[in-house]
Subunit: 401 residues, 2 copies
């Protein structure tokens, strides 16, 4: 498959987890046929018209949709390892802050970094995800907190697509933290919203997110950002109820958000509103684990209400320095009780939904040929293993990587 | 460095975490010089006699001792992913057992597997560890529970060294579980101890371990195995106080064990005996995490009593399907509160101690040239990151891998 061109390609003896249908893996043993534009055929047999396709025997290997990491803060500079060490050595919050710890550290480093430096550091993280069969990654801004740096982050996110075979979805998260020397209200009105508008003009923004929390922004402040997003025709996402119930889920539902993420402290009313508005629940076990939290998101209630659950790494230097989507799946199962099937749906069909994408996350004719081929027999293996990425091959847009 | 022979090699501009001294990373910025036999020099400068060595510029990269995974059950056949899935789907213990779940599953698969099949499956797991800078791995038997299969497992463990550049330490764990159709006493006396003696005759055994637990063996039964080990001159290790306090730590201390591992339920008396006998505490967060346990090992007491702590993957299909030593370090920090320094000591100097090895686990002249070179600046990075193995290069016995 090295001379990839206008040809038609395929796998035989594949175990296909199509992820179609409302539940289950949608397993089919047989063929998947594709060209560069789309998947052409899935089935037990191969129709005559594809008999001349270049077919590879997978010897029973599992094929899933290319995985989708639908919530990351992958673009940033610097490291917070030293702060992590100080915390474990028993240093106080004040000592850590004095030593330059916290999000301020990442904002300073990200402002200071050149576009090239940011890109290089981010590609190293992205490569970890790609080595696990990821084909689509959402990437947020939010460590700039000024127009130039927010734009720089989004530009670097876009640049990732020119350096690797991957689909990047950018999310503007200007409302991530309050920069020093400003009130939250002034920051929202004078920096965050104008920078969103100018970023949109440069075609840098696919969606808009905010951090609705006592240590972030109020629902009223977030609503002003969402109104601006709505004006620009951009879809909405929200960091909601991670550390307390702020009514963020209701706010997200009101704006028909694609997803509300974290949700450890969501109320029953919040769940009801999400169901009504069709908002995906973004399950992010990495931060729960890394911060030593104890309040889990109400998985049983999401299940009962048929709220679709996505699973993501939340890759970021402060609360989830994780670059493994398979580990996020294992944590979602081990810490929150999601089934392996829910975990795989969470990084495929539901993750696509959480990004508003309809052309990926499942294996079906007409969808993008984004595939992950695994050296395992059963899809549950992907969630069960810890620290092992049994990827055999990744196919992105029909192209073997 | 491709034509490796009788030459002398070295790194300059290296940040060396020597792990010498009683605490700290023992950081030295400068040179490490070695040949195939041993490390020849560590220091800020390079003595004249090594000026002709073939020196590579590391540009400030971190060098640690090659990592040591001192507690694994790496050799086994089959997978328990399906059982993991059934558990998360809410199936009862009885349903899982009926479907062939539990350790019985692994014992059956391991008995049925050929030596070649076992080797192939194990090498895939080993390769994950090697990709993280591991140069020494302890491997236990214990899924045979009959003489032939216990020997087969130990033979495969020895075979790993002929297939990869790695040092394997074998541990006989016949006293792992009670095979169907036998009493624990009969199994210990009629199978476990005779199979130990015959395995020792074949030079298959470097140490002897047991599982002292209500669902395993009593201290009296383990003591009989330890007496046999003592007769053969073999060192002792023990799975102790993982799920309850059985006085295993005291038993381990009485036999001057190299290590007692797990220790979630250890008593103060057990700690005192371990200190007295110089027994290393094996910290195994993988099983704690995977099984959803809540009782943590008493790290603060180990620290106060200066009990050396080793950290390992405990890689096994039932309670810790983990093949990442870096993830074990992260879990030891995140879940149990070990500092990054304690985690790195736990997979280097203290892990060597837990295996009775004096020629590795530190960087000093006269020790083996087992090195891991990392694309990071600070050693805390190795514990901080999740799902990322920033290995630049591994050197095993002086040989670049």
């Amino acid at each position: 498959m090295s001379d990839f061109g206008e040809e038609i390609y395929g796998f035989r003896n594949a175990r296909l987890a199509t992820m179609t249908g409302d539940s289950g893996y949608g397993l089919i043993d047989g063929y998947v046929i594709w060209d560069e534009d789309q998947i052409l055929h899935i089935g037990k047999d191969i129709p005559d018209q594809f008999k001349n396709a270049e077919i590879t025997d997978l010897e029973g290997r599992l094929v899933t949709p290319g995985l989708i990491d639908c919530h990351t803060h992958l673009v940033y500079a610097g490291s917070r390892a030293k702060e992590f060490e100080m915390r474990l050595e028993g240093k106080s919050y004040a000592e850590i802050a004095t030593a330059g710890g916290g999000i301020v550290n990442t904002v300073s480093a990200t402002r200071a970094a050149s576009e090239d430096e940011l890109l290089t550091q981010t590609l190293a993280r992205l490569d970890n995800l790609l080595a696990e069969g990821v084909t689509t990654v959402e990437v947020k801004s939010g460590y700039g907190l000024d127009e130039a740096t927010e734009h720089k982050m989004l530009t670097v996110a876009r640049e990732l697509e020119h350096n690797r075979l991957v689909n990047i979805q950018t999310t503007y998260l200007g409302a991530h933290a309050i920069p020093k020397g400003m009130t939250a209200d002034d920051y929202i009105d004078d920096v965050c919203i104008p920078a969103l508008r100018s970023a949109h003009e440069k075609h840098l923004v696919d969606a808009v997110d905010g951090f609705c929390e006592t240590i972030g922004f109020t629902p009223a402040q977030i609503a002003r950002v969402f109104d601006a997003a709505k004006d620009l025709g951009l879809p909405i996402k929200l960091h909601a109820e991670q550390l307390s119930d702020q009514g963020g889920a209701q706010l997200a539902a009101k704006y028909n958000a694609l997803s509300a993420d974290h949700l450890e402290y969501i109320s029953d009313a919040g769940i009801a509103d999400m169901v009504e508005a069709g908002v995906v629940a973004g399950i992010l076990p990495g931060a729960f684990y890394f911060l030593g939290e104890t309040q889990k998101p109400p998985i049983e209630k999401f299940r009962a209400a048929s709220v679709p659950m996505a699973v993501a790494t939340d890759s970021n230097p402060g609360s989830s320095p994780m670059t493994s989507i398979l580990l996020a799946m294992n944590m979602a199962a081990t810490l929150f009780g999601l089934t392996p099937e829910e975990c795989l749906r969470g990084v495929t069909v539901n993750a696509a939904w959480a990004l508003g994408l309809t052309d990926c996350g499942r294996l079906a004719p007409g969808l993008r040929a984004d595939l992950a081929v695994w050296d395992v027999e059963h899809p549950a293996e992907l969630t069960y293993r810890m620290g092992d990425a049994p990827l055999h091959r990744r196919i992105f847009g029909g192209i073997p990587c």
